[in-house]
Amino acid sequence: SGLGMFSTIICGFLSPLVVKRLPEHVQVDDPAVVKRLAKKLERQQIPLRSDYGYKVSLFSHLHQYSRKAPLTQLLSIPSTVIHPSIVRLGLQYSQGIVAGSNARSVALLHAFKQVIRDYTTPPNEELSRDLVNKLKPYISFLNQCRPLSASMGNAIKYIKKEISNIPSQCKEEEAKTKLLKCIDRYIEEKIVLAAKAISKYAIEKISDGDVILVYGCSSLVNHILCEAFEKSRKFRVIVVDSRPRLEGREALRRLVQRGISCTYVLISALSYILPEVSKVFLGAHALLANGYVMSRVGTSQIALVARTFNVPVLVCCETYKFCERVQTDSFVSNELDDPDDLMVTRKGKTQLENWQDVSSLGLLNLVYDVTPPDFVDLVITDLGMIPCTSVPVVLRVKNLDQ
């Protein structure tokens, strides 16, 4: 299997090296694991979403779902087992309406707020334990709709911790208000204020006359550029885009709407355009404990070519996206998107329409890739500007805080 070729070690930082069990979402080709998952979902009354299409053998250990087969067709229509706002969220994730690591976390916390508001403690149960158990099936459901991002994982860890820390003598109403306030505070601190802090640091790095290259649509990088423009820095932007998502179009729209002059190229024109570029700003989906940056597929290519041209690469990432996972390649843990997205219809003809009939053809639609720290010059976080290799230090400090 693809996984047999590589191995992942997940380290705990304050404890000796521990080999934990691999998460099931990277062991899809192991029938025992799949069976265990099916049993767990059955217990939680969540339907199992089946994989779609032929998977390229190197990635056969990952899930591959089709957007045309949503999980909701297996659920009852007035959703009774899963809270309606979670069903709505799952749909929005799987259809791509809510995309982008920050947006997904905010939407997740918003949905959890609704869940907490509608929650009532059953008799003879404690809120601190029962509410966490109530959230577990919802998280499985969301995972089936679209694999959870690192930021969402950290947000869930935070919520679970806050819920378990509710003292047992606390009344239900009080507890609920406290939790809602915690969520609001988390979003305010880790996302909104963090963005403000990062913009402040990043603007120092933008000088007049700069030509900045951005890739895809990172909400944080767009925010920084808009803030810099408002602070009257003179720069122009080159937006690099790639198929099949073509998210750069949305980034282009947002920047041009503010008045920033932009150029738009596809990633194949990268080495053509790089001689003009003075800096590269990249967003991140997660920052791994060994300093690797996990981001949209194509980012590592941009970082590599930029390094070759000696252009500084700056990664902007909030600290809540820092993850204790360690990865050195993009194979072990990734996300496979719907392969049908790669089909394009031009002049009424879709060449790949019957790709499933060709037995030797596989369509691979990767979502993430991993950039080594050698290609990244600086990471701008809300704690300051740090080199890539200092990520474990930040994690250690965060753990100590908590």
């Binding site: 007035p78 009774t80 706002s85 069903v87 995309a99 939407a107 895809g216 998210e247």
Partner: protein, 470 residues
């Protein structure tokens, strides 16, 4: 746990376009494939997982459901029947206003005459994912292939076209108007064209009358008593309102309409508006391309439609649709074609696509092809029934030949009658002055004679019969 959707079934409509059938039997209880018409939408709701339904109907229907043994609804869901006066002339929106107190969450409104195998999750997913105010179901219209008794050819008189405009994805509803409301041509506002330069306008669609509506729309109806029909007035209003200036301003808290009382529920949703706004701001998704606007053009009122390409979707509101539905109904449920309690003699020919109802008596040497025989019907010897619908309690005497006809309940077809493409009304305490009805007594007068009522599209059967009996 928060309830997501409440189902409301509208079963108070009159069936004004098929008076021949409904003057005696209320439309929700007309037999289709030997089940009352109302069973089909109830079964659809039950299959997708609803556990209770609010049924708005007339007292007459309620009485028949509870007393008449032939009307067995066979559903496990809890039915909350709300009766309205028959003569109150209530439109569907009026009915929704009537039950406003019972509506606690978003509603799924279904009409009692809908027969479909549509995947409801497609409609509801649009409603959920886009946080839509309205989501509805439509289907490509299929030509009716069966001949309809008493009608000249297939011409539909008085059916005016519906113009439905959708965007490039085929899901967002941009424009909806009926030919009757348009004076000279289709008028599309510039504001719509600016936001959606590519619009597909479709005319051959059947509206399934299945709507997902936000709770705020029901509250809006309570304050706006002038709207009386969902399809005729509310839906076009909502579709137009998507593009009106007032709904696009951020200070309107509730998306829908004019003057809503700010009650607690709306305040709760507005508390989290910031988070929803933040999510949309940070998400790299847009529903359209090519202009500088945010997703949904910043509009807060959105209407969506799911258009079915394949599958069954009929609204049984005309005689032609009724006949077509009877042909297709057996495909929708898996019960055996011949009811176990029917007494069927061995020497008769029953085609595979015919349905025989409970407690029937089919005698020797009869041939039944592509037909539906109702409950407790007696068919005597040497009868040929082809392509017909025989309702409950009918007696067909020997030697009859019935082709392409509809025989309503409790009628008696005299011996040797030859009925082609006729509609024979049911015995009833109906209006005498309506000469369209062929009352029982007229047929039995001709009972001994060789009654030959052959009918070919030109005159109405009832008149013919009248002549013969004289």
């Amino acid at each position: 746990l928060q309830m997501e959707l409440q189902a409301v079934l509208m079963a108070a409509g009159g069936g004004s376009r098929m008076m021949d059938l409904t003057y005696n039997t209320p439309k929700p209880l007309l037999p289709v494939g030997n089940k009352p018409l109302i069973w089909y939408p109830l079964n659809l709701l039950e299959r997708v997982g609803f556990e209770e339904v609010i049924v708005i109907t007339t007292k007459e229907v309620q009485k028949m459901i509870s007393t008449d043994p032939k009307v067995k609804l066979d559903v496990k869901m809890k039915l909350d029947l709300v009766c309205i006066q028959e003569d109150a002339d209530m439109g569907t929106a009026d009915a929704l206003r009537h039950i406003q107190q019972k509506v606690k969450t978003d509603v799924l409104v279904v009409s009692c005459d809908l027969i479909t195998d549509a995947a409801l999750h497609e409609v509801v997913d649009l409603f959920r994912a886009h946080n839509a105010t309205l989501s509805m179901l439509m289907s490509k219209a299929h030509e009716f292939t069966e001949t309809v008794p008493g009608q000249k050819g297939k011409k539909k008189t008085g059916e005016q076209r519906d113009f439905v405009g959708v965007d490039g994805t085929g899901k967002r509803l941009l424009f909806m108007a009926n030919e009757a409301d348009l004076d000279e041509g289709v008028v599309i506002r510039k504001s719509i064209m600016r936001k959606h330069p590519r619009m597909h306008i479709k005319t051959g669609l059947v509206d399934a009358h299945l709507y997902c509506l936000k709770k705020s729309v029901v509250d809006f109806l309570a304050d706006n008593k002038s709207i009386s029909s969902i399809r005729g007035e509310l839906v076009p209003y909502l579709v137009r309102k998507q593009f009106s200036k007032s709904t696009n301003s951020p200070k309107v808290i509730d998306e829908t309409h004019q003057n809503l009382k700010k009650n607690d529920k709306i305040q709760i949703s507005s508390r989290d508006e910031e988070l929803l706004h933040l999510t949309q701001e940070r998400s790299c998704w847009n529903d359209h391309r090519g202009d500088m606007s945010d997703a949904y053009h910043g509009g807060r009122l959105r209407c969506y439609v799911h258009i079915m390409d394949e599958g069954i979707c009929y609204r049984v509101n005309t005689l032609a649709a009724y006949i077509e539905a009877n042909r297709l109904a057996p495909k929708l449920f898996d019960e055996p074609a011949v009811h176990p309690s029917a007494v069927v003699s061995e020497r008769c020919l029953i085609g595979a696509d015919s349905i025989i109802g409970a407690s029937c008596q089919i005698s020797d040497k009869t041939s039944i092809k592509r037909s539906t025989i109702g409950v407790s019907t007696t068919v005597r010897e040497k009868v040929k029934v082809t392509n017909s619908i025989i309702m409950h309690g009918v007696t067909i005497e020997e030697g009859c030949n019935i082709q392409g006809s509809v025989i309503c309940s409790n009628a008696v077809i005299g011996r040797g009658a030859d009925i082609k493409y006729c509609l024979v009304g049911s015995h009833s305490t109906a209006r005498e002055h309506n000469s369209k009805i062929a009352p029982e007594k007229r047929l039995t007068e001709c009972h001994r004679a060789e009654v030959n009522i052959t009918y070919h599209y030109k005159s109405i059967t009832y008149n013919n019969c009248h002549k013969v009996s004289k």
